[in-house]
């Protein structure tokens, strides 16, 4: 019996690879299993290579895992293109289509001897039962269901639901293909046990992906306007809202460009609505000037950056965490814009709600850093209790304040009540130009200084939001692990492994990245002499950002890799062990007292 299995599958674009992965995840979610499904594609729109990796677990799982337990290759050329994204190791069961004419002893895998290799007539079974090679993915579903011992009824239910529109004959063929795979698996048991253990008894899960969930959270938050421009890998946010926002009285505008997209959002916010835009790196570059306008005019908005490999066009279909510097520093002028990052697809829900709340409360643009993995991976999630969500609305002027309305009034908090067109007595001039309390343009150095102070000081309480940080481990541990965004899911698992192995380590995952909450980090680093910051970018951007604001101990190292180079929990643990050894040497070298 297994509690944790990783399956990887690759083939050509038309093979229905991703659809197979989704079917398996959905079936497992119905049974109550936890799972994470990532997809990876070549750059082609049709055809080209396509893959998924699915990790199924009997406990909550935060990342797509390391080496594969089961690898499925519909053809070897496409499988090999994914390299380290689909790693085959000594524990892997390799399944491939017999039609590739590769002998089991001559797999094109260099330097690896898998635990078990099976050549299966996948295409042949698909033709015999499903009537065409298009049923190959369904045959594989049957194989997996058989070997893992899960989801027979659930997969069939999924097939019926998905294909019912195409007619009874198609459904029947698909079921036959599935059952053929299932029977084959039962007749050819694996040497290595791949049966899944009992699922948790908590019942069926949600299946979410970060982009769709972000869009849904926006609706729940009360967002009534989306403006944006299509860009990979964020467009699903626009697609979802294009279907759903109208039902709730909101409007979706596919604008002529990235600038107009956020421009319309700035306008909608000025008009009093909660508003959202979403993009990826190149679009963020274009939106920068508008973010500055929203900052000086003190207008709430939420801007999601589903990060991809950069700079410029970079690798549009693959994730990276390399836009942190951009999120924090791309404004001209003295500006703070809150930057939040979700650690998983499921986390996009609370993070998006939080982003709207911060935007409305502080009257500011808020940036959410997602990435291709958080945005597009599918994962199981606990059902969401909407009744428990607290929403924050922007502070409106009272009737008395509207008698002599002062839009940018200096207040103790730096936050001034905001009116909107249609509100009698609230008329004011909003502008990108520096202004006085009434909104009138000014070039006075004194007023500029006071306004900057107001606009920056208002964020002070945000730095005290400890609930936006995940902190685990014993307070006095000398070894620290820090990570953020999608990679935090790997770091959290590595942390738990390290603790089990007896390492004296503690973990910090900021979900608020900016403004830098100095006190939270100082407290965390107080006991630490050595440690590791793990992130998916080349420059160690979080590490460098922290060094700018916080006294980071000199013994902190980095594990930073460019996008689409997987980081595994084991790799993090290995580094932590090395650092722990160095820590022990430090302690030996310390001169003893007396």
């Amino acid at each position: 019996m297994n509690t944790d299995l990783v399956i990887g599958m690759a083939g050509s674009g038309g093979d229905g690879i991703v659809s197979a992965g989704e079917s398996l995840l959905t079936a497992a979610a119905m049974l109550g299993y936890h799972g994470v499904l990532t997809k990876s594609f070549g750059p082609q729109i049709r055809g080209g290579e396509s893959s998924f990796r699915l990790r199924l677990c009997t406990e909550k799982v935060l990342n797509p895992g390391g080496a594969l337990d089961i690898a499925v290759a519909l053809n070897w050329e496409d499988f090999l293109k994914f390299g380290a994204e689909l790693p085959v190791g000594g524990q892997t069961t390799v399944v491939y289509d017999s039609n590739t004419n590769v002998a089991p002893g001559k797999l094109p895998l260099v330097g690896v001897t898998p635990a078990e290799v099976l050549s299966v007539p996948i295409e042949q079974m698909a033709r015999e039962t499903g009537g065409s090679d298009r049923a190959k993915n369904t045959v594989v579903l049957g194989l997996m269901s058989g070997w893992m011992g899960i989801g027979r009824d659930e997969v069939i239910a999924g097939i019926r639901k998905r294909l019912s529109k195409k007619g009874a004959e198609i459904v029947e063929r698909a079921e036959k293909a599935f059952l053929a795979g299932l029977e084959y698996a039962q007749q050819h048991p694996l040497k290595t046990d791949r049966l899944m253990g009992e699922p948790p008894t908590t019942g069926a899960k949600f299946v979410v992906d970060g982009n769709d969930l972000c869009a849904a959270a926006a609706i729940v938050a009360g967002c009534d306007f989306f403006g944006g421009y299509p860009i990979t890998p964020s467009s699903e946010i626009m697609h979802f809202l294009g279907r759903e926002i109208w039902k709730h009285g909101g409007t979706m505008l596919q604008a002529e460009d990235e600038i107009a997209g956020i421009g319309a959002v700035v306008g909608a916010s000025f008009a009093g609505k909660k508003a959202l835009t979403a993009t990826s790196g190149p679009g963020m570059s274009l939106k920068t000037e508008m973010l500055g306008l929203a900052s000086i005019a003190e207008l709430p908005l939420v801007c999601v950056n589903v990060q991809r490999g950069g700079p410029s066009t970079g690798i549009p279909t693959k994730g990276e965490q390399s836009d942190l510097f951009q999120a924090v520093f791309s404004a001209h002028g003295d500006v703070i814009r809150p930057v939040l990052a979700a650690v998983s697809a499921e986390d996009m829900f609370p993070i998006t709600i939080e982003a709207f709340n911060l935007a409305e409360y502080y009257q500011t643009p808020v940036i959410i850093l997602s990435d291709q993995e958080v945005g597009q991976r599918k994962e199981t999630a606990e059902p969401i209790d909407v009744a428990a969500i607290k929403l924050v609305e922007r502070q409106r002027p009272t009737g008395k304040e509207l008698e002599h309305y002062t839009r940018f009034r200096f207040t103790e908090t730096g936050i001034s009540p905001i009116s909107h067109p249609g509100m009698k007595g609230g008329n004011y001039l909003a502008s990108g130009i520096e202004h006085n309390e009434l909104g009138a343009p000014t070039a006075s150095g004194e007023m500029h200084s006071r306004m900057n102070d107001k606009r920056l000081r208002k964020f002070d309480p945000l730095k005290q939001r400890r609930d936006l940080f995940i902190v685990e481990g014993s307070a006095g541990a000398p070894l620290g692990l820090v990570s953020w965004g999608s990679v935090a899911g790997i770091a959290i698992e590595a942390f738990r492994m390290a603790v089990k192995q007896g390492l004296q380590v503690k973990l910090l995952v900021p979900r608020l990245l900016y403004p830098v909450a100095e006190a939270v980090y100082q407290e965390f680093f107080a006991s630490i002499t050595r440690g590791l910051v793990v992130e998916q970018n080349h420059q160690s951007q979080l590490f460098r950002l922290l060094r700018m604001f916080v006294d980071v101990p000199r013994g902190i190292e980095t594990l930073a890799k460019s996008g689409s180079n997987p980081i595994t929990p084991q790799e993090v643990v290995d580094r932590l062990r090395q650092i722990s050894l160095a820590l022990q040497r430090d302690q030996h070298q310390q001169p003893s007292e007396g």
């Binding site: 849904a216 729940v220 039902k247 700035v266 008009a271 000037e289 009698k424 001039l429 909104g439």
Partner: protein, 298 residues
């Protein structure tokens, strides 16, 4: 067909739309006449100042919202149109005005004009066209004539100007007019017609720059040369005739309505409202959106 027979909604005078801010414009700037015409047009329409959103970009002329009592938004260079559309879509009850210079509208923000036209959000876009960059002290603008020597073209411009009228007519604008502060009363009428037009209305205003402009563009010269389209017997329902006359941009100063769509097409916000009405019945609360993620046991 004149749309000006409508009575004001409430009794307002120009004064009610004039703010206390003192314009930064040079004495004699054409924009003084433009803002006066806007005050008068707004008084004739009679919407309360707090129900008006007035959006602009960057440039001398883009200071104009601050000189009115409307909700003003002096935004960034070239982006007034997307922001104004966002405002109108967020609250279709508002009267939305948008204004800026020729650089704002046809250079840095030129890409937005075509989309404002095809999207057809109900608003009035007033371009104060002075064929020069005044705020940055006298460089070439997209409507500067070929050969013009300016701060940025000491040896003369090597480019031909954009023709704003042909540009918008070509993109299918449903209301296209031109005016000048040399005829403030005529301009007020045009602005009022633009506001009353149910859709995106474009008004080009030949508003001279007294500091960096050319002699033949000054108000005095304009008064001698301008001709109303009405006096030429132009039929504003005829787009091709309008385009023919618009070709004289830069050579002749025609004022009045070049084109007014006799049966205006639907505005974006009307289609949005219809969609809201059609879709709303399918959900009971915002939480329903989460049903998309629920998996159910077979």
């Amino acid at each position: 067909m004149s749309t000006l027979t409508a009575k004001p909604i409430q009794d307002y005078t120009s004064k009610d739309y004039k703010s206390d801010l003192k314009p930064i414009w040079c004495p004699g700037c054409g924009d003084f006449g433009v803002v006066q015409a806007i005050y008068r047009a707004l008084a004739n329409v009679g919407r309360a100042p707090h129900e008006i959103a007035f959006v602009s970009g960057i440039g001398c002329s883009s200071r104009i919202p601050g000189y009115t009592t409307a909700y003003g938004f002096n935004t960034v260079h070239g982006r007034s149109l997307p922001i104004a559309q966002g405002i109108k879509l967020a609250n279709p009850e508002l009267l939305v005005l948008c204004a800026g210079g020729d650089g704002d509208g046809f250079s840095i923000g030129g890409g937005h004009v075509a989309h404002a036209i095809r999207r057809n959000v109900d608003m009035t876009y007033i371009v104060m066209d002075n064929q020069i960059y005044g705020l940055t002290k006298g460089q070439l603008s997209p409507t500067s004539r070929r050969g013009l020597a300016t701060a940025s073209s000491a040896l003369g411009s090597m480019e031909s100007p954009v023709n704003p009228l042909l540009y918008v007519l070509g993109y299918g604008a449903q209301f296209v007019a031109q005016g000048t502060p040399a005829d403030m009363s005529g301009l007020a009428t045009i602005v009022e017609e633009g506001i009353r037009f149910p859709g995106f209305a474009f008004i080009n205003v030949q508003s001279p720059c007294v500091t960096y402009g050319q002699e033949d563009q000054m108000l005095k010269a304009q008064k001698a040369t301008m001709q109303t389209l009405e006096s030429l017997g132009h039929d504003p329902a005829d787009r091709l005739a309008a385009m023919n006359l618009a070709q004289a941009y830069g050579e002749k100063l025609y004022t009045g309505v070049f084109f007014r769509q006799p049966e205006p097409g639907p505005t974006f916000e009307r289609l949005a409202r219809e969609r809201h009405e059609a879709q709303r019945a399918s959900v009971s609360s915002r939480a329903d959106v989460l049903n998309a993620f629920r998996v159910k046991k077979p």
